[in-house]
Symmetry: C2
Subunit: 197 residues, 2 copies
Amino acid sequence: MDAFTGELGSGDRLLMAAIDLIAEKGYNGVTTAEIASAAGLSEKTLFRHFGSKLNLLESAIDRFRYAEEMRQLFEGKLVWDLESDLYAIGVKYHEIMNRNRKLLMISIKDEAHLPGLKERKMQHPHQLLDFLDRYFRTMAEKGKIANGNPRMLAFTFLMANFGAFINDLEAGENYPGIGLDSFIRESVKIFARSVAR
Amino acid sequence: MDAFTGELGSGDRLLMAAIDLIAEKGYNGVTTAEIASAAGLSEKTLFRHFGSKLNLLESAIDRFRYAEEMRQLFEGKLVWDLESDLYAIGVKYHEIMNRNRKLLMISIKDEAHLPGLKERKMQHPHQLLDFLDRYFRTMAEKGKIANGNPRMLAFTFLMANFGAFINDLEAGENYPGIGLDSFIRESVKIFARSVAR
DNA sequence: TATGTCTGTCAGTACTTACTGACATTGTAT
DNA sequence: ATACAATGTCAGTAAGTACTGACAGACATA
């Protein structure tokens, strides 16, 4: 039936409610009764499905992990024009990070309960850093950008976007007049000018 | 006596222990007994001093708030050489942010308990953004850097440093081979090249 | 109809934890 | 010596919360 109606099963409704509430209030800040109620189910059903609160959280993380997404960036077709490529990478980066926003929030707030989650979350940036590093090297070999310190260029670009993401993440409308898209566009120009020949 | 020995009074010991533990485990993740014990005092003494757990946290925030520190950046003597000035600002920024690290962590983890703290914490970046904006404008007027979008340049510089700080903050040694000081130096060079004439 | 599955209700247990009151102890100042 | 201020000990209360067991109703399938 679900396959036809598109409705979610009880298990998934509980997992989604758990992600929402724990991301907002933290693991210790939310009760199992609250989660069940947000899912429109009884607390008893929650325990029948998951046995314990901790297992509910772990299941939720497993279920909503967008594990390999950062690889999309690697598969995206590059056109070997610095500004175009950096812009596309920036847009994709924020797209993925925003989709993972709630899990990120949980991994920040409740690292104590979740050994290993933080480490797994950090694999993505590492992959992206290596990718950008190689990209800049290749661009230099092609003679399209100046020689320099490609790894630090990659790292700074990554940190700028990470900072912008975190800033939005926890504060919403923090800097009036500065939107995400204009930030991506302008910051790409800044980096592009820095390595122009 | 304290004035001579340099020892802290009971109240301050409790406040420090509270900051340490709440930053690490979150408000709901730590008990009053734990805090008192970490301060080497009894739980009873904690309540005699502060009355309630929440009031303890609020007092701790008041006590250890480095409210006006970001202004030091404004008073720091600029030499109107782009690389020197940006480097000095970067170093000072991380110095201040690191000193505020624990309060920052609390404001991220437990915003729920502390309405208004997040807002106060955001005043600093705004001031710094305005300051950088004006600095770049002046540099352009002096003919020392190219004309462009000073506000976005300031914002990107700020975000890069913020991202690097947060990255260290929650993950420690995340990117092997990339230390804070080398990041500041190299990122400054990247931004400087971007606006060189 | 009969059976199995999923769910709700309700009462309850065991544990944690913020917070209190009564009283003793220690050290300091007068 | 006496009074006072700060602290400890200990027992305890009240509330919250993760988690359970017993039972019943709804619904689909055979």
